[in-house]
Symmetry: C2
Subunit: 145 residues, 2 copies
């Protein structure tokens, strides 16, 4: 699957939004970039992708910015990563062909393995929500919205 910087940056940005959650008052890209020390124009693209995936909502104009579209406990790390880095998988060979034979020896067994590993990744990343990360990040303090 390979989490690229996009996946990491997206997580950092959303985590920042969750940490400073303030009702439905949007946070500007500039503020997020400042708090996370990420390059602003790049972050803009990433937030756009997150918006496309329905993870975040935006408001334009003065006083605009981004807000989480759902509560942090309803946003999984898997959703974040796959929104910006594409589907979570171990590699991108096709699916194991079930119907009968493989083209070549052992191929099917390996495809099944890669597929299984991808599933494992997906499951694990789905088991963590943004809320969990907020807890981890702030240690003991709970900053719910």
């Amino acid at each position: 699957m390979k989490v690229s910087t996009r996946g990491d940056y997206a997580s950092r940005a959303l985590l920042s939004l969750a940490l400073h959650a303030n009702g439905s008052v949007p946070t500007s890209v500039r503020d997020i970039a400042e708090r996370t020390a990420l390059p602003q124009p790049y972050l803009e693209q990433i937030l756009l992708a997150l918006k496309g995936a329905g993870i975040v909502r935006s408001k334009r104009g003065v006083g605009g910015g981004y807000v989480l579209a759902r509560s942090p406990s309803e946003i999984t790390m898997a959703q974040i990563v796959s929104a910006v880095d594409g589907p979570i998988a171990a590699g991108d060979f096709g699916e194991p062909h079930q119907d009968g034979a493989c083209d070549h020896e052992g191929q099917c067994a390996l495809l099944a393995l890669w597929s299984e590993v991808g599933e494992l990744l997906r499951t694990r990343l789905s088991s963590y929500t943004l809320a969990d990360m907020v807890l981890r990040a702030s240690g003991s303090q709970i900053s719910a919205q």
Copy 2:
């Protein structure tokens, strides 16, 4: 980590060696390429990397070729993949800094997550050996050449 074609090809080649194990009679690259339908010159590089990692041994000259360096039950999928695709990790940001604080909010928590996921991958891929794959491969279908 992203298993590239190299990881898949390396596995296919070694699986082929394991399936046609014949004492210590080496198999030539050409034969392996033929059986697995992989591009021969590319496969040559991959086998070289596997040799460098000590997974395979080679014999030169007429009648030369490659042999597994150990029994299939002592070769894990993690060893194969990391030999040709580099260390198994979820992404390549640094290690989580333990000693006190992160540079920016939440960063540490995320680094810890990526690291944990990488560990999960490594563990799972280490739990399968070539011998397991041989079983899987010959269990599901006829291994014709």
